[in-house]
Symmetry: C2
Subunit: 159 residues, 2 copies
DNA sequence: AGTTGACTTAAAGTTAACTTTAAGTTGTAG
DNA sequence: CTACAACTTAAAGTTAACTTTAAGTCAACT
């Protein structure tokens, strides 16, 4: 079974223009052509496209993906280099996931904050709220109760 | 305690030019100015900058962040809208994390693949390998053993 | 053989998010 | 009062990753 660029585009959910762009950037040296110059994607090409997608989705720039592909085409003499690239990317993903988790923690706090504000009808509930009424997991986000008199000219906003 | 743009830049690890750009895009309407026009960041502005960072790091475009900030400045009348935005972003982050996890799964497989290939000195070990010698968690990535005779003209690559 | 839809390329255009530059102003230290 | 580092703005420049356009070619069908 072989696919044209339009067919593989549908199959993978990637625009055909994007696939052509990747080819132009040297990411698809393994894709063969018909005698008339039409790209013919084989079943065996799909894992290659999937690893490209994986690296792209995890934030690797096209040029770096090309280096990896170049090593793959070079064959067994570049196994070490390929392993290093994959391991580095794995660590990058772990780091990204940790960051995502801490952003999610903050969004969970904000969700609680606005749900509480919604019930009370005002964000000011949080200025008045005592730390003991805030769930423990959200303590680190809570600002100390301000005793300052906020001037009318200040652009203070409740988040 | 107040900070100039350079000071807040150091404190948050964001380039001063980026902070000025955010201000120009309307993300920082709450930042006051000295009589001479110098930005003066208050302690109270830091949570605002942190929520902006959180939304940015989780992929929200600057223009959408501006909408959220606009609602914050509008005050208690826009609590519902703010809650909706935060909840939508929370769901977006959950989705991103699931995607990241599946990319990580693939990178773990690739790590195993190249470690094994490194020991064997060739990626061809995987073409010869029986499914029973592949750890169960990696079965879904394993291609069936090809019995086809690969022509010398084919650009087949081992990934 | 002709039509037609999908393919080809090179080149130009788009977008987001900054960054840099240039010319000028502010504010602190001596 | 002067020097000077850090601030200000508007405008132009940068980069990555596509997308679009235009002009032409391929191949399947009648």
């Amino acid at each position: 079974m072989v696919y044209t660029v339009g067919e593989i585009s549908k199959k993978l959910g990637i625009p055909a223009s994007t696939i052509r762009y990747y080819d132009k950037e040297g990411l698809l040296p393994f894709v063969e052509r018909s005698s008339g110059g039409i790209r013919m994607f084989k079943e065996d090409d799909i894992p290659g496209l999937e690893i490209i997608e994986c690296l792209k989705k995890t934030g690797m720039p096209i040029k770096e993906i090309k280096h990896f592909i170049d090593y793959c085409v070079e064959g067994d003499s570049k196994i070490d280099e390929r392993l290093s690239i994959i391991e580095a990317q794995k660590n990058a993903v772990i780091k990204q996931m940790k960051e995502m988790q801490s952003m999610l923690d903050m969004l969970n706090y904000k969700t609680w904050y606005y749900q509480t504000a919604k019930e009370a009808g005002t964000c000011a509930i949080h200025d008045r709220m005592d730390l003991k009424d805030v769930p423990k997991k959200y303590h680190r986000y809570k600002l100390p109760k301000s005793s300052a008199i906020i001037p009318m000219t200040s652009k203070t906003v409740s988040w």
